[in-house]
Every structure is written in structure tokens, then in C-alpha cells.
Amino acid sequence: MADRSDVVGTVAGPGDDPNEFVFVTPSDKSIKTGEFITYTVPVEDEPRSVFARVTNRELIRGLPEGFLADPEVGPETVAATLGVPTDDTELYRLTATVIGYYDTNMTTFANPRQLPDPGTPLSIAPHQQLETVLPNLGCETDSTDVTTLDGVAHIGWLLNRPAEATNLHIPIEEFASTHLAILASTGSGKSYTASVLIEEMMRPSSRASLLVFDPHGEYDTLAEMQGEEAFQGADGYEPSIEYYDPERLRVRISELEIGDVMAILDNPSNRMQERLSTAWRAMQRQESRTWGIDELIAEMERIYGDDDASVGALEWRLRRSIERNDLFHPEDNVPLGEIVDPGQCTVLQMDTLDRWDQQLITTVLLRRMYRERLDDVRDRDSDIEHPIFALFEEGHRFAPASGDAPSLGIMRTITSEGRKFGFGLGIISQRPSKIDQDVLSQCGTQISMQIQNPTDQDAIKNSVEAAGEDVLRELPGLTPGQAVVSGDAMNTPALIQVRRRHTEHGAGSRPVIEEWREAYEERQREPTGSEAADFGEGDSTGVQSLD
């Protein structure tokens, strides 16, 4: 520890919990809750900086509340009247929880299992030290210039510190392989945070292969990365941002599994289900992968005869649900080689597709990509010979807790097995309680933002192992752009302010009032072909005009 001028407080004694201690500071040393402080203890004869997090702050000496009786009379006026000194009178008692010292061998925190002695001076943890030890960067010293490291994502800075003072760089490898969850209520900056991460992953130092499942079309501003200097590599690298609009999204019918078909069919009877699955399996055993509904029905008629009533009913259902849907095609498929490539971020814009179609295309794509990754790892021929990371906006649509989505199965598989095959998922959701718990609990890194809903808070508590009580307590009080980062990418959870995006943000709320006014003025300018208001006399014509 440096000289005494750094000291912000003095240890008073142990706290209630085994890892807690209490210290006292005067009012001018303003220490916020959540601040990281440090003290030195000898560990194996070597002085070590132990970090602790301030968890509570209470006033132990200050002006009595009776001085606040009249809102128009300031307490310091009353105090001056009574000759009570008001300068530096306040004393605060703060509670801090020991995180540990940075063990350079284990490259994580180790608990010294020893609370500081009363009288131990405490100082604010230095910026660079925190930047090194808070994220799981595996640094070999406890103070490294983390900006020089490769494969780190600058996500923001510590909330309790001045802007950009203590910058947090999380290891991309960690969250890209053990999955990521961004949980926040609407309007608190989920997509913003996700975009920040995408930007970081597309930097020349990482050149990730990214896939964004975007049901709302919120990521259309990412293309601005192209041409920005910050994203250009010395070797001529530039991120490539590909947009796949619904017209280019295709599912080859033979890629569907029988369960998927059952799910989109309209209430098939048991007999129909039996007929369909038999025929479907027969089709899948065929060499050709480019068959359509016609071939399927021909196969059914071959097995069950031309006049089978169930086959007839199935034909009608299959044609209505699959053939008339542009998404399904006997031959076309989304070419995997086109959508995943290192240094490429592909945004699948699914905003015009309905929910079922979104889930189906996701299911099929994930299955294909997972298969390719499996092949690659097992040294078989593969279309995808590099790890990939897929980000799901509205993650609860693709892995719902209710279980009624065809994509749930493959999502569960990837979250539990994907790590081995270099397939990472990122789930973004505003309803953690509506995400399948198996999927959510497998997300190793969590970025949690403001969440008020108690069921959603419970969902985080139950499924996110790293979320301690003190993290959960922070969630309702966060404001947009503030987040708690916890899990595998961190050595200890930290509150951060998400940094500003380099690209414009496309998912903000619409300027409703402005748009109303514009629309109104537009209407006023139109020729007055509209009819007079109807006040309820005679037959209303208002309804007709709505058509």
C-alpha cells in the first residue's frame, strides 16, 4: 500500500458474515456502495493486495433528524444556530465483503481467509489493478495494461468510477465458448450492449464469426462498422456485415424433422401422425435431399394407397402449412458457407416472419451448423471449420420455458455441449423467467441490466450461479446502460456502465409524439375527401371507411 494519503478509511472490526468487515470513513472520503477497496496482508510472507467490495454504507455520526423538521430551514442553519460544527462531522460505517487477493498462479481470486485487523488502512483499488483482476483475463501479474491484450472486449467502465476511468475488458473467448446471457427489461439497453459486444468481436484483433438472429430488425446499423477506421486491420481486414432479409431465408423441406412438421401442422390426428412419420422417415432415408411435398405425398400414397382418407387430409394440411409458405422450399437452403465466415457478422432479419417460421428457420439452421461443427471437431468434412457464435435477440422465443418451440431441443444441446464444438450462444431477453431454465443456467457469462419484475429476478437467482445476493440487489436500481457483469468471463461480478457504441443505435423507442404530429399534419394536407363525423344518427359509415 502506498502512502497514507491514499487511505480512505480504517478497519473497525469484523462484520456479521465470515468474509465481511466493517470500516469507518469521514464524509469527505466519499465511498460508494459497490466500490472496490484494497488492503495489504502478508500471504506466505509476501504482501498481497486483498480486494473487497463495499456492500453497505450507514451514517454513524451526523446531524440529528430533528434538524430537518422544516424543509425551508436547512439542517446546517439549525446546526449553526446551536453552534454545532457542520464541517466533516459525518462519520460513515461501511461494510465490505472480502473478494480475495489475485493469485497469479491460479489467475483468479484467492480468499486469504483472514479479515483485516482493526486499524488496517484501506485505499481505493487502483484502476489498472482492477482492470487486470476483475475480468477473467488470466494475467500473470496483478497489474497489466489490458488494452494490449488480444481477444478482449471493452464493454464499459466501472459504474462507481468516473467515466472511462476503470475500463472493463472481458475475454471474448470465455463468453463465446461458454455462452452468454444478456438479461434486461425492455428499454434498459440489451440490444445496445449486444451491439457493443458485436463491435468488439468484429475488431481486427478478434475477427469473430457471428450470427445474429434478429426478430425485430434492430441490428441494421451495424453495417456502419464497415469503413470505420476503428475496425480496420493493418493487413486490410475489415468486418463484413451481411444482412439476410426474409426473402433470402429458406428452409429446405428435407431439413425438417418429423417433430417440426408435426408442430406446424394444424392439429393432426393420431392416424395422420402415424402416416406422416412413416412417410417422412422413408423420404429421409432416400439419397436425394431435394424432395418436396409432392414427393412426400406420393410416398404416402405408395405406402397407404391413393384413397386413404388420412393421407388426403394430410395433403391438404401439408400444402397449406408448408407448400404455401415461401420459407420452405424443396431445394433452396440458406448456404452455411455464406452466413458464417471469420470476420463476418450475419444478421438474420426475421421481422416479417411469424413466430413459428422464426423458430423453424432457427431450429433448422442451428441443427445444420451444430452438425457441421461436430463434423469439423471429429475431423470429418465440414462447411464450418471455425468456431461460431450465435446471438439471439428475444431469446425466450427460441428457448421458451413453456417448451413449445421446435428450437428448444437444439438450443439445449448447444448450450450444454456446444463448448466442446466451438459453438457459442448468446441469449438476449427481457423475460428471463420465460427462458428455459436449462438453457439459461448453461450461459456461463451474464450481463444483467435493470430488472424490476420479481419473477424475472427469481429466474436469474435460480439459474445464474454467479449472481450473488449483492448482485441481485442491484438489479432494480440500475438505470439504462448500466449492467452487472458476472460469470465465467469475470473473476468477480462488477457493476459497469456500458460504453458508447461506435455505430448508431437502431433499436431505440420511436419518437411517438413527433410521429403523431407528423401524421396529423400529413392528414391535414390531404384533400378533404373524408366524410363528416358521424354522431350516431342513422347507419354508421365509419366502420366501412376503416377497411
Binding site: 430533528g66 442553519t77 453552534g83
Partner: protein, 235 residues
């Protein structure tokens, strides 16, 4: 407050009065309330209230009431100072009370109590609040509410403190101050909150209605009263 038993200086009060002549006109013309007869501590004195025989113009009842600010003049290092105080308690003394002996009164003389009758007296407890310098023109200046370091003497005259002096003693930088409050509460004991309320009432009456200090005084009074009620188990 202790009952004073020192009585021998009793007849000299008129002389003290005479000596006080020649002071600045303002403070000098103040009514004399009594003289110090003893003390309980450095800040806690006992004064015997003057009666008709003691001076030309003995204080009227309302001039020596509970909570009345008083001052005692002291010359320190050539500068004249007023040691400010307040009457925080009173006590009646009757040496006759409880005395058993022959009643001398007869039918033809209903009252016959030789000697002792004049020894009945009223003692007033005076708590010191602070000090101020007495300027040439008789006004006070540089009031301080710090503990007075000088001791009073037996027979020091206790003067009735006029209202404007009370206000100037309590005004520091245009701000009303009662910085002695904690000491006063300590000395006055059970009646501590009452004496402060009495002082505040007095100050409030002297300040203009719209003076911002009025509200400050309200808050202080509320606090003192509430604390007293709490201590007395009312709330």
C-alpha cells in the same frame, strides 16, 4: 442550586449599586436583579434577589422571571465585558420555616417575628451563557457563546438584560445563535428545555415576524421540546 447561607454581606448591597455608577449609560441603567451569593460550579451561580431594603429600585416580579437573560459586568485586562447569563431556577428561603419555639404573637399584636422576617428571601439560579465586550457607547459587541473563562465574585451585581442586548448577544453574523445550548441544558437539568423555550420565546418576540431566523428558532424549539418529552417518557 444550593441554599445560600452567606448572609453577612447582606447590608452592603447599596454600596455595590453606588459603585456601578459611571458605566456606559445603556447597560448601567439596567435594573439590578440581585447579587451573587454562591456558586455550584464554574457556570452555575446563585444570586439573591434584591428586595426593597437592598436597593432603590428592586426588580419587579416579571423582571426576574424564569428564563430572564441577565448580565454581570466584569473588567478584564482593562476591557469591560458583560458576562451573559439566564435565570434558570428560583428558590424561596425562609430560615424561620420549621423552627419550633414559642410563638410570640399575641392577640393585640398579630404579627411579632423580630429579626427573622427580613431574612426571607428569593434565590435565583443563574447559568452563564457567554460573554461580550461592552463598547464605548454602552452597546455590546463581539458576543461569544463559548464558555466564559472568568469567575464571578460573591456580591457581583446581576443586571436585568434588556431585550435589544439579548438580541445582539444572540446574533452572530446576522444569524441567530444559541451555541451554549448543550451547556445550558446540562446545568439547568430538569428545567433545561423550559429555560431554552423561554429564551426562544423571548427572542422570537423581539425579531420581526418575517425574519428567516424565526423558522430556525421553531425547529430548535421543537427539537428541544421533543427531546424533553422523550426523556420524560411522554412519547
Amino acid at each position: 442550586m444550593q441554599r445560600s447561607t452567606t448572609r453577612q454581606q447582606y447590608g452592603d448591597e447599596a454600596m455595590t449599586d453606588a459603585l456601578a455608577d459611571g458605566d456606559s449609560p445603556d447597560l448601567d441603567s439596567c435594573v439590578r436583579i440581585g447579587s451573587i451569593v454562591s456558586s455550584n460550579s464554574h457556570l452555575d451561580y446563585v444570586a439573591e434577589v434584591y428586595k426593597e431594603r437592598d436597593c432603590d429600585r428592586p426588580p419587579e416580579l416579571h423582571e426576574r422571571e424564569f428564563g430572564q437573560p441577565v448580565f454581570i459586568k466584569k473588567t478584564v485586562n482593562g476591557t469591560e465585558h458583560a458576562v451573559m447569563g439566564v435565570i434558570y431556577d428560583t428558590q424561596l428561603v425562609d430560615p424561620d420555616q420549621g423552627r419550633t419555639g414559642p410563638r410570640l404573637a399575641q392577640d393585640d399584636q398579630a404579627q411579632f417575628t423580630p429579626g427573622y422576617i427580613e431574612e426571607r428571601t428569593t434565590l435565583a439560579g443563574v447559568a452563564l451563557l457567554g460573554t461580550a465586550e461592552i463598547a464605548e457607547d454602552g452597546a455590546i459587541q463581539e458576543p461569544t457563546h463559548q464558555m466564559p473563562r472568568w469567575t464571578l465574585e460573591v456580591e457581583d451585581t446581576v443586571f436585568h438584560c434588556p431585550d435589544q442586548v439579548t438580541v445582539s448577544f444572540h446574533t452572530v453574523d446576522d444569524q441567530i445563535q444559541l451555541a451554549y445550548m448543550d451547556r445550558l441544558l446540562d446545568i439547568a437539568g430538569d428545567l433545561g428545555s423550559e429555560v431554552i423555550v423561554a429564551l426562544i420565546d423571548r427572542l422570537r418576540g423581539m425579531l420581526p415576524e418575517d425574519d428567516p431566523n424565526q423558522r430556525v428558532l421553531d425547529v430548535v424549539e421543537q427539537n428541544v421540546q421533543w427531546q424533553a418529552r422523550e426523556q420524560r417518557g411522554m412519547v
